[in-house]
């Protein structure tokens, strides 16, 4: 029987990196470095730094890829240590890194929608989520701070959110994760509680601009699934 207001033992701030040039769903998809932030991405990371400035956490954990490590360094500011964790890397596109999404989904039509589908030489969502969850467990076990900040990727975050909250993994790819978004999850009474999903410093502005391209069933059907 759950308690009405359980003690929050840990708070996870799960952040997605700020805007980059690559990673588009409409054209060519690329995951591997070098992928720098855009100018707008730099401003988003700076906004995250202001948002997190008052938080007590002395560490920021991040995927070692350019876009996450850089977002984490800006967010952390001079007073916090950034710790890079390779198991938080983005889902690997394998041999198809840099290919057009047409060709990627031709090679694996059910990639992401089927959490066990992997690209040639790459990973499935379940592979990715398992290693990222192991990384998160290790971070939680070694850190003695209540608030844990993790900067990772769209695919990694979607998999982790679905897994921690108990959502079916085959709908993880439909969880919205905007550039530089923050998700807040609380560990209490042996469960993860969903505090906030996909907060961004930009507020509704990004969402309003993206009205035609929201992630939903129809958008995914347009991609051929």
């Amino acid at each position: 029987m759950p308690e009405l207001a359980p003690q929050v033992e840990r708070r996870l701030y799960l952040v997605r990196h700020a805007e980059t040039e690559a990673l588009t769903f409409d054209g060519f998809m690329r995951c591997e470095d070098p992928i720098p932030l855009t100018e707008r991405g730099e401003a988003q990371a700076q906004a995250l730094a202001e948002l997190f400035a008052g938080l007590d956490a002395t560490e920021v954990h991040a995927s070692p890829m350019d876009r996450t490590a850089h977002t984490a360094r800006v967010l952390a500011g001079p007073q916090r240590t950034v710790r890079l964790e390779p198991r938080l890397r983005e889902i690997s596109l394998g041999d198809l890194d840099g290919a057009h999404s047409r060709d990627i989904f031709a090679a694996a039509p059910r990639w992401l929608a089927d959490p066990d589908a992997a690209l040639p030489g790459g990973e499935s969502l379940n592979d990715t989520t398992r290693r990222a969850a192991a990384a998160l467990d290790a971070i939680l076990a070694t850190s003695d701070e209540r608030d844990v900040v993790v900067v990772a990727h769209g695919g990694v975050n979607r998999g982790l959110l679905a897994r921690l909250l108990g959502m079916p993994m085959d709908r993880a790819h439909r969880i919205r994760q905007d550039w530089a978004c923050v998700n807040v999850l609380d560990r209490a009474a042996g469960r993860w509680w969903l505090g906030t999903l996909n907060w961004t410093p930009a507020g509704l502005a990004e969402l309003a601009l993206a009205r035609g391209a929201l992630i939903d069933e129809a958008a995914w059907r347009r991609l051929g699934r």
């Binding site: 029987m1 759950p2 308690e3 009405l4 207001a5 359980p6 929050v8 708070r11 701030y13 948002l51 997190f52 008052g54 938080l55 909250l165 108990g166 959502m167 079916p168 709908r171 439909r174 969880i175 919205r176 923050v182 807040v184 609380d186 209490a188 469960r191 993860w192 509680w193 969903l194 505090g195 906030t196 999903l197 996909n198 907060w199 961004t200 507020g203 509704l204 502005a205 969402l207 309003a208 009205r211 035609g212 929201l214 992630i215 939903d216 069933e217 129809a218």
Partner: protein
């Protein structure tokens, strides 16, 4: 694609006699903090092309909706009410050992009140009925009502609905295509985005 902002009402004014109880049918309005939350939500939602603002008939929801509506008419929909706790109304939570079960077992019903399953069916239908044919919408409702609807949209089991937090004045953004809704952002708290002052709870 139209958007729907689903809000929880702002913080309620405390009872004049200082009593704290389980209340679904309270007739009190907002506290000063509750009004500030509603004003922050109004500013956050200013870019929406709002065609309709709807809320439950609870004064705290109506007051929140009037602030968020920024001069637009507000439609009061009684079926958007929060969980009806029946005979438990007004009693302190400490006196209600079965309260946590009602909030985590969809079939458990308080005496004279509603189960989470009852609430989900009633609220979902009222919510869909409150949406305009075109344009964006703002709906101001209640903690567990919002949570059971959102659990359904996120394919979470109904027993876990209470794990989805809805802070006072919290904003959830849904995208809408026909009758299909998808969660875009959940429980945004513009005055406290990192939830540093928010309480995580089942109710």
């Amino acid at each position: 694609m139209p958007l729907v902002a689903l809000l929880r009402h702002g913080e309620e004014a405390p009872a004049p006699d200082g009593r704290v109880g389980v209340e679904s049918r309270s007739r009190r309005g907002l506290s000063p903090a509750g009004r500030a939350q509603a004003e922050a939500a109004r500013d956050f939602l200013a870019s929406l092309d709002t065609a309709r603002v709807a809320c439950s008939d609870a004064p705290r929801a109506i007051e929140t909706a009037r602030i968020v509506a920024a001069g637009r008419p507000v439609e009061v929909v009684p079926a958007l009410a929060g969980l009806d706790v029946g005979d438990w109304e007004g009693r302190p939570a400490a006196e209600l050992p079965d309260l946590a079960r009602v909030l985590s077992d969809p079939s458990a019903r308080p005496p004279g009140g509603e189960s989470l399953a009852d609430l989900e069916a009633r609220f979902r239908s009222a919510f869909l009925g409150a949406l305009p044919e075109r344009g964006d919408a703002i709906v101001v409702a209640h903690r567990m009502a919002n949570a059971v609807l959102l659990a359904g949209l996120m394919d979470l089991p109904p027993r876990d609905a209470g794990l989805i937090q809805q802070d006072p004045g919290g904003i959830t953004i849904l995208a809408r295509r026909g009758s299909s809704l998808s969660v875009q952002m959940l429980n945004l708290n513009p005055l406290d985005p990192l939830r540093r002052r928010s309480v995580t709870s089942l109710a």
